[in-house]
Subunit: 409 residues, 2 copies
């Protein structure tokens, strides 16, 4: 069983892009990498063999969801997250912070990425009426979205839960603020996130000592940089996280594609080069993957690709199609003739259209395989382009084909 | 590409049980066999590779469902049922007769297996109010359960549709009557089923000549024996079907386990030994498989096993369990420790319980793999017991363990 480590193997001059390897007790991860979403200890509609087959290297589950069901104790008794879900590879857990907030008080403050749209405002108003969560300096009190039970999460309990769940890489418990929060609230919230990160490190080290004594492998802790759209706060937050004994970093609260170049750069310029960086909860834009990598991101997660798949929204090299459209009823070509995924190798648009129209569950499986392969494979190709020196050229040609016009960010 | 044939390789003295091989243009089927349900050209929640992996040899789809969606013409243009659904093996289609009736007029006459129960009566009354189907000597007029469109099915159109869908084995279009129908109605209905079978054979031969000229492979036609619980009618029906140019036989309208020994025997005694026999739409009783084989059945179909799987009802060697039960939350053993299916080799009851509680689609996939393996594998073991001469002993010990007491039928 190998220890945790990160090594950079290739860089792209004039950018922050790099290729590398994260070593974990459950195996290595070639970066940049798209982590496959496994929120509730399952990748929706897919077996772990399907995830391997489509190129998935690592799965990201969620502490909030697993503490509610089946309970972190059940996952621990099962032998940890990977064993519980029959996944033979590295795993991440998100801290649960975002979910604790996004299902409660944070909505009121507009954490939702679409808070500035009319629908976002309506959703926030609705969520706010429920008042599911309340933050104080000690932690967060919230109500379970499953049964309304009042629960508490603190930096310490998040660490304890994550060690129980047993992923290879944990995230520190943070407060994710809205891009629209007031300057005063951002300041207050960032101070809290920093104080919590410190407490996370202390609790993490305490638990690690116990585990070490028991002969158990290390589980890494990554801190989360916040600071919304404020350069000063972002740099301060990155510097603070860099000063702590952390194994890597998440960058939270970056919601819009056009924010990536600037916001990620501020952070990456302050972080040490010898630790990996994760862009937390990116959008569903293909361009975000290129921009993230260009500005120094090593790992990504996003559940939008598979969610869109379940709604029939399928990615191709020239943009997205909706497979439920009547014009595909007698289209006997694959979703994307350039795609080498299991679905495209074996099924036609006509068949997948039929499965969707018939509400057959295999529709969701085949569509999820395709979209997840699309994004995992795209990040793989980005990694290869870093290694062979063609990254910027690949970005240019790929995105021009995808959007049907030059991409300028 | 091999022609259609059936060969018996082993028999069990003192019973009608036999092992054999059905040869089709898409490969051979070792009998007795459980045909996997693929009603709408998909085995619910499973990829064809999963079906192969669990031991599935052949898939049975439904003409009624496929004519409505996506349309038999689409399946034909795709290259036929097997190619459309990416199944590399033999296929059956049911004629659509049962579905045409069961969604309409037949309900009024009590075709439902539970028509004699209070719930069955209520269901029938409800269905009857809708008047979805009307039978005459020429065919059946019915309304689509999808969009209410009025449609017509005749013996000829059923044959045309089945040749378009292109399964290796077709079923003749018949009228399935209730076990509670009057003697007069049974007589009238049986005469109609016989006249229809004759017309099916004529139309089948006409289409085959066209296909042969075009160099296309043969598709077999099996006739369906009806006659409810009446020995005279059953024997007459079997004799009539035996007199036609048919490639095999279905036995329809046998609904209760305790009817199998007698009813199937009446029919099998009249049918030629050199053609295979299918028990249409058996129940979900494990004992039915043994009884069917004992009285001469070669092929079975039943969608109840996978439907139960999707509701959490899972088969074990000692009976059925419901995996959603709270007691399985921390049970880290497989569904059935004697089972060698993919699910039992890789997942615990606790994990599957978690997936069901979380409404995760993988729950249905893992449960369906298990139940379908259970029944497919059981029929495989029955075949092996015929070959090695232990059939009756296997029946006795297996069912005594399953029911927890000796089985006496």
């Amino acid at each position: 069983m190998s220890e945790y480590s990160f090594t950079t193997t290739h860089t792209v001059p004039g950018t922050f892009a790099r290729a590398g390897v994260i070593q974990t007790p459950h195996g290595s991860i070639q970066t940049p990498v798209f982590t496959v979403g496994g929120t509730k200890a399952t990748v929706k509609t897919l077996t772990p063999e399907m995830v391997k087959d489509l190129g998935g290297q690592t799965i990201l589950a969620n502490t909030y969801h697993l503490m509610l069901r089946p309970g972190a104790d059940i996952v621990e008794k099962a032998g940890g997250l990977a064993k519980f879900m029959h996944w033979d590879g590295p795993t991440f857990t998100d801290s649960g912070g975002f979910q604790v907030f996004s299902l409660g008080v944070a909505y009121k403050k507009g954490i939702d990425a679409v808070a500035h749209t009319e629908k976002g405002k309506a959703d926030n108003a609705k969520a706010s009426a429920k008042q599911l969560a309340k933050v104080d300096d000690e932690g967060v009190t919230f109500r379970s979205h499953l049964d309304g039970q009042t629960l508490r999460m603190t930096p310490e309990s998040s660490m304890q839960l994550q060690w129980q769940i047993g992923a290879d890489i944990h995230m520190a418990f943070d407060e994710c603020t809205s891009p629209l929060a007031s300057a005063a609230y951002l300041r207050e919230s960032l101070d809290r996130t920093h104080a919590w990160a410190k407490r996370c490190v202390i609790e993490h080290e305490r638990i690690w000592k116990e585990h070490k004594k028991a002969g158990k492998p290390y589980q890494a802790l990554w801190g989360v940089v916040q600071g919304a759209r404020d350069e000063k706060l972002r740099r301060e937050s990155a510097q603070f996280m860099a000063s702590l004994n952390l194994d890597g970093f998440g960058i939270g609260g970056v919601f819009q594609p056009e924010e990536i170049p600037e916001t990620v750069r501020w952070v990456v310029e302050e972080l040490p080069d010898d630790k990996p960086r994760h862009l937390l909860g990116m959008g569903n834009q293909v361009s975000d993957l290129f921009l993230g990598v260009e500005y120094g991101i090593d790992t990504f997660d996003c559940i939008a690709f598979t969610r869109q798949a379940r709604n029939g929204g399928l990615y191709t090299a020239t943009g997205r199609i909706n497979i439920t459209n009547a014009k595909f009823k007698d289209d006997f070509t694959p979703i994307d003739s350039q795609c080498a995924c299991y679905t495209c190798k074996n099924y036609t648009r006509a068949y997948i259209n039929h499965l969707f129209k018939s509400n057959e569950m295999l529709a969701y499986t085949l569509a999820s395989i395709h979209n997840e392969y699309f994004v995992v494979n795209l990040v793989d190709r980005i990694r290869e382009s870093i290694i062979d020196g063609s990254f910027l050229e690949f970005k240019k040609t790929y995105l021009a084909t995808y959007f049907g016009k030059p991409f300028t960010l």
